[in-house]
Point group: none
Chain length 203, copies 4
Amino acid sequence: MARPDISEERRAQILEAALEVFARQGFHDARMDDIAQASGLSKGALYLYYKSKDAIIGALLHTLFSVMMRSSQTIEHDDGSARDRILRITRRFADEVDLLSKALPVMLEFYAVAARDRVVRASMGEMLDSYTALLTHVLQQGIERGEFRAEDPEGLAVALIAIWEGMTLLWATKPDKIHWREHAMLAVNVFLDGLTLQPADRA
Amino acid sequence: MARPDISEERRAQILEAALEVFARQGFHDARMDDIAQASGLSKGALYLYYKSKDAIIGALLHTLFSVMMRSSQTIEHDDGSARDRILRITRRFADEVDLLSKALPVMLEFYAVAARDRVVRASMGEMLDSYTALLTHVLQQGIERGEFRAEDPEGLAVALIAIWEGMTLLWATKPDKIHWREHAMLAVNVFLDGLTLQPADRA
Amino acid sequence: MARPDISEERRAQILEAALEVFARQGFHDARMDDIAQASGLSKGALYLYYKSKDAIIGALLHTLFSVMMRSSQTIEHDDGSARDRILRITRRFADEVDLLSKALPVMLEFYAVAARDRVVRASMGEMLDSYTALLTHVLQQGIERGEFRAEDPEGLAVALIAIWEGMTLLWATKPDKIHWREHAMLAVNVFLDGLTLQPADRA
Amino acid sequence: MARPDISEERRAQILEAALEVFARQGFHDARMDDIAQASGLSKGALYLYYKSKDAIIGALLHTLFSVMMRSSQTIEHDDGSARDRILRITRRFADEVDLLSKALPVMLEFYAVAARDRVVRASMGEMLDSYTALLTHVLQQGIERGEFRAEDPEGLAVALIAIWEGMTLLWATKPDKIHWREHAMLAVNVFLDGLTLQPADRA
DNA sequence: AATGAATGAGCCTTCATTCAT
DNA sequence: AATGAATGAAGGCTCATTCAT
């Protein structure tokens, strides 16, 4: 049968509620009761689908990263100049920031945990590697095609990701002042300008 | 005798221990007993100097930010071209990352808390404003002197801070792969290249 | 089925245990663990039904006073001479002292707290007012009917209550020496004799 | 030398402070710090003169009772009719209530403790015995002299003490409504009336 | 004699987890 | 599958007591 197991529905229902509660209260201040209430289930039911609170946090980590990695991989096959592709990815990232703004505090908390916890760090690392690989590939092509000057493409990829992630940090801290899309587009454009060979350079 | 109040010594002693313990275990998993042991004091003594665990966290936030803001303000009066000054600030930031690496997980946790807590957000905002103001000033001068092309200097300042903070985030997640100094210098250099007017442009 | 809410059962169960423990150890030296053990519940369960230890103390205050006020109000509609009615009330009070002897130390502790705490004082005041009103009414009738000489009936009511409460204090202090029923009956009889008009007086 | 040891001064100083603090906060909520501050001594100094907090409470119990017993014993040698002597004692008691009103909450707390603690109960019992002996003696004389009718003099003494103590209790609970002196005088007068033989009775 | 900083045992309270229904 | 009452381990905080000065 094509319909997903009711069990999958329940799990999704719980994760959605957990995301909301974690975003509002943080991992520790979120009570299992709060998640139960937000999900419309009983506290006992949570334990039918997840072994523990930590298991919910782990599943949420996995889910959020799967979403982000999937979205990055769909972009990889796009066409256009390297600059256009990178700008397009930045825009898509901006869309995600809008959509996932609810998840932002949770993402930041994962970063904080990652700094202390090997397992979480590994998960985050995978996601970053995926992004890095994607961007490295695009940048590499840009260099090969004479669009960009020759620099270590992986270092450049790291720089772009740093811009995105850093902008997200700033936005979380000053949501009224930072406009993710505009600020990120400016930053990336200037960065790409610094990378772009002038016709004169190529001569 | 002008020996500084023992009370100040104790407070510093406690904050240092708290920083170490919080970095290792996170705010919540850190026990007052752990901080007591790390500080060489008794649990009761902690409460002679700080009203509560939260008060210790708050004092640590304040202290870390004071240190960072003080370091930023000493730079402002420096000489040289705008590019040189920005690169110098980046290098100094790199030095701090080395020194404050112990504080890194704690800083990230503050970012996570800031996304949820108005008071913490305000403190972080102040520090960012201070950095933004410093960089805006330098960038403005660079533009006025014809060193940089005309863009919104505050937007550019945000971009630079995003690079630094984002790099820090990546470094926390993949400390073996990311070399803060080298990666950040590459990113900032490319960014400044994108901003720099060629002699030809000025014609 | 109209089975009373289990919640009410539990609350009663807890108060009964608390009374026993408080009587033996006093409010402060009574541990929540002791109450839990005496009630046959776990410590956590206590907090399902009462917000705090203070809430338990407050509920006990309320319950004890409700019982006493209810018992006083059932008497008011009785018949007979004023003297008979007062003696009857005294006897009923004696019965209660026997029954509530377990609660005695707790009642005394409430008196002690009342001397310092406005809220507790108000609760105790209500109960005393209720008793005063009842006795004032009976004494007033006795005066109007020519059974007692004319004195301020409220002052006399206070005197009677003082005898009861004072006897209770003495009994708590010297339980072997003071026989509440006999001593109180003697005191009240003499007091009422002092109030009773002789046929000769009425001439 | 006749001057009392400075040590005695200090002890008195501490007890006075303790009385004030205990009256306001109760035995348990009174901190050693509070007593130290109220006494103008350091916390350490308290322990030079008293072994522990409980020792201070014990000394206070002893002191308060000594004062009361001494005051009762000075009366015993007085002259006049039994009625006059009892009324005079009542008045003196009223004076004490005024003076010791500060100590009232503490006295009540001692009653509460006495109901649970054998040692405290013994101390209180001694004081009550002293009062009972005094009054029994006076009442016995009144009976022998034909002033009062023949009843168990000890039972009557208990009745009088109950009136006093009970009135004190009521006064502590409703200080605005109860006027110790007036209410007690009324109660004792009526009681003594009930005890007094009329000339006709003696015939 | 006096101080007050320091100690640490102890208790109230919370909350993830379990389990009888 | 689902519930939610019950559990009990764990931790923040207090405060009587000690002791170096």
